[in-house]
C-alpha cells in the first residue's frame, strides 16, 4: 500500500510538471513524433522493397531463346541438360512451332499480317522457359547458359532484382543512420526539456532535499515527464504512419500497379508489433533522456 501511495504521489507530481511545462513537452513530443514517423516510413520502404524482391524472386524466370539453326531435336537435348541443373526448379520446352504461334498471338486481330513470316527461317526458334530455385542463383546460371553454343538470347529479371537489392541495401543503411541520428536528436531534446524543468524547479528541489526527500523520489516525476513525452510522441507517430501507409496503399491499388506486390506491412508485420515497437522506443528514449538529465542537473 505504501508503495502504491508513493507511486500515486509521484505520478501526480509528474503530471503537474507536464502541465507547468506544457510548451516544452509539446516540442519534445513533436520531435519524437517526427523521428518515429520518418524512421517508420524508411523502414516501411525497406520492407516494401524487400517484399517486391521476394515476390520477383519467387518468379525468378529466365527465357532462353535458342538459335534458329538449332533443330527441335537438338533443342530437346539442351532442355534436358538445363532441366537437370540443380539450380533449376522447373523448366518448360517450347518448340519452334509453338513459339511462333505464341509470338503471333501477341498481335491479336492482326495475325494474318504475320502469316507470311511463317516461312521465315529466323522466326523459327525453340525456347526453354526456366524457373530458378532462387533469383540469387541467377548470375552464375545465366553466365553458363549464355556461353552455350546455340543459345541466341536470354531474357531475365535477375539484373533488375540485383539492382533492387542494392537499392534496398542502401535504403536499409540510410534507415539505420537516420534512426540512430534521430534517436540521438530526440534524446537530446527530451533531455533539454527535462533539464529546463529541473532548472526552473531548482529551488523546489533544494527544499525537498532539506526535508529529507531522496534523489530517487525527486527524480521520478521528471522521469515520468520524459517517459510521457516519449509515449505520446510514439502513439501519435504510429497512427500517422498507419494513416499514411493506408493512403499510399490505396493509391497504388487504385492505379492497379500490381497491388499484390506491395505488402500490407501493417498486416504482415502485425500492427500490434509495430505499435509495441514504437511504444518501447518512446518509453526507452524518454526514460534514458530524463534519467540522464536528472543525474546531471539535480545536484543542487
Amino acid at each position: 500500500m505504501k508503495f502504491l501511495r508513493l507511486a500515486y504521489y509521484e505520478l501526480r507530481q509528474g503530471f503537474r510538471n507536464i502541465l507547468r511545462n506544457l510548451f516544452m513537452v509539446f516540442a519534445s513530443v513533436i520531435v519524437v513524433f517526427s523521428v518515429l514517423l520518418i524512421s517508420g516510413l524508411m523502414i516501411e520502404a525497406g520492407i516494401t522493397l524487400g517484399s517486391v524482391i521476394r515476390q520477383f524472386g519467387d518468379r525468378a524466370e529466365v527465357q532462353i531463346n535458342l538459335s534458329y539453326l538449332v533443330s527441335d531435336e537438338e533443342a530437346m537435348e539442351y532442355f534436358e541438360v538445363i532441366k537437370s541443373d540443380s539450380r533449376v526448379k522447373d523448366a518448360q520446352f517450347i518448340s519452334k512451332e509453338a513459339n511462333l504461334d505464341r509470338i503471333i498471338s501477341y498481335f491479336k486481330g492482326d495475325e494474318e499480317l504475320f502469316e507470311k513470316y511463317r516461312e521465315s527461317e529466323r522466326l523459327h526458334f525453340a525456347s526453354i522457359e526456366v524457373q530458378l530455385n532462387e533469383y540469387t542463383d541467377g548470375t552464375g546460371f545465366l553466365e553458363e547458359v549464355k556461353g552455350l553454343d546455340g543459345v541466341d538470347s536470354v531474357k531475365d529479371i535477375v539484373g533488375t532484382i540485383e539492382k533492387m537489392q542494392l537499392m534496398r541495401f542502401w535504403v536499409n543503411i540510410g534507415t539505420i543512420i537516420a534512426v540512430v541520428f534521430m534517436t540521438m536528436l530526440s534524446i537530446l531534446l527530451i533531455f533539454n526539456t527535462v533539464k529546463l524543468t529541473i532548472l526552473a524547479r531548482k529551488n523546489e528541489i533544494q527544499i525537498m532535499k532539506y526535508i529529507g526527500a531522496t534523489d530517487l523520489y525527486i527524480a521520478v516525476p521528471f522521469v515520468i515527464e520524459g517517459v510521457f513525452t516519449g509515449i505520446v510522441g510514439s502513439v501519435l507517430a504510429f497512427f500517422a504512419l498507419s494513416g499514411i501507409y493506408s493512403a499510399v496503399y490505396k493509391g497504388v491499388y487504385d492505379t492497379a500497379v500490381s497491388a499484390n506486390i506491395v505488402p500490407l506491412t501493417f498486416k504482415e508485420t502485425g500492427a500490434g508489433w509495430i505499435f509495441l515497437a514504437f511504444l518501447i522506443f518512446g518509453i526507452v528514449t524518454g526514460f534514458v533522456a530524463s534519467v540522464w538529465a536528472s543525474k546531471k542537473h539535480m545536484k543542487v
Binding site: 500500500m1 501511495r5 529529507g212
Partner: protein, 234 residues
C-alpha cells in the same frame, strides 16, 4: 489542538548535540570553523550567536549534512554524523526540522501542499497527512490559510508555514537559521514564541541569529561564535 495528532506532537524527543573539536576548511583556504566544541542538552533551547562570517551558517550546514567537517566529530543523539553515508543523508534529515531566514517555501503551491509534501515522500496515507497538517497548522496559528497559495502570504505567515513544515515529521531537533531575519519585530517575537513552544514539546531547538534583541532576556543559553571559534557559552 483538537485531534489525536496533537498528542504525538507533544511527545517530541529532543536529541543531544555534541560538537567535538570541529574544524571546517573550504577549498578556497577559508577556515570557517576552528576547533569548535560545545554540547546542547536533549530538549534544550540554545542560541547560536555571531556576526556575519562568524561561522554560524557553516555550523548549520554541518548539522544539516550539506557539508562534512574537515576534522572533529558531530553527534546528534546516538548518531555520529560521520558514520552516515551520502545515501543515508535524506533519512537523517527527516529527523531534523529546519527553518530558514528566506523561508524556502514553494510559492506556487498551497500551504497544505507545502507541508504535506514532507509526509507524501514517506508514502503516508492521505487521511493521516490531512490530520497531521491540520494539527501543525493549528500549532503555528494559520490553519485558516491552509488552502491559500503560499505566494499570497505575508513574511510572518510564510515563516509559520516553514515552522509547520519543519515539525510535520515530528523531528526531535529543530534548527533555525536566522528565522527572524526577514520579519518585523512583532512577527519575530511570535516566531520565537512558536519555537519555544515546540521546545516545550520536547524538541531540541538551536537558533542561529545575529540579532542581540532576540537573545536578550530570552533566558536561553547562548553559544557565541567569532571568526570560526567558540567565544563563550552563557
Amino acid at each position: 489542538m483538537k485531534n489525536s495528532e496533537e498528542k504525538r506532537i507533544d511527545r517530541l524527543n529532543g536529541p543531544e548535540i555534541v560538537f567535538r573539536n570541529v574544524t571546517k576548511d573550504y577549498p578556497n583556504g577559508v577556515r570557517a570553523l576552528d576547533n569548535v566544541s560545545f554540547r546542547v542538552a536533549p530538549g534544550e533551547f540554545a542560541f547560536l550567536m555571531g556576526h556575519s562570517g562568524s561561522g554560524k551558517s557553516s555550523l548549520i550546514r554541518l548539522l544539516m549534512m550539506e557539508e562534512r567537517p574537515t576534522d572533529g566529530s558531530i553527534t546528534v543523539g546516538n548518531i555520529r554524523l560521520s558514520d552516515i553515508k551520502d545515501s543515508g543523508i535524506p533519512y537523517y534529515r527527516r529527523e531534523v526540522g529546519v527553518v530558514f531566514q528566506d523561508f524556502r517555501i514553494i510559492l506556487g503551491r498551497s500551504v497544505y501542499e507545502n507541508i504535506a509534501c514532507a509526509m507524501e515522500m514517506l508514502g503516508e496515507p492521505k487521511k493521516r497527512i490531512d490530520e497531521r497538517v491540520d494539527a501543525v497548522l493549528d500549532t503555528v496559528g494559520i490553519l485558516a490559510k491552509k488552502n491559500e497559495k503560499a505566494m499570497h502570504l505575508s513574511g510572518g505567515e510564510l515563516q509559520r508555514v516553514a515552522i509547520a513544515r519543519a515539525i510535520v515529521l515530528l523531528p526531535g531537533l529543530i534548527i533555525a537559521d536566522e528565522p527572524t531575519g526577514n520579519l518585523d519585530p512583532e512577527n519575530s517575537m511570535e516566531i520565537m514564541r512558536l519555537l519555544k513552544e515546540i521546545n516545550n514539546m520536547g524538541a531540541t531547538v538551536l537558533v542561529a541569529t545575529h540579532e542581540a534583541g532576540i537573545v536578550e532576556n530570552s533566558g536561553q543559553r547562548v553559544i557565541s561564535l567569532s571568526h570560526g571559534m567558540r567565544q563563550f557559552t552563557e
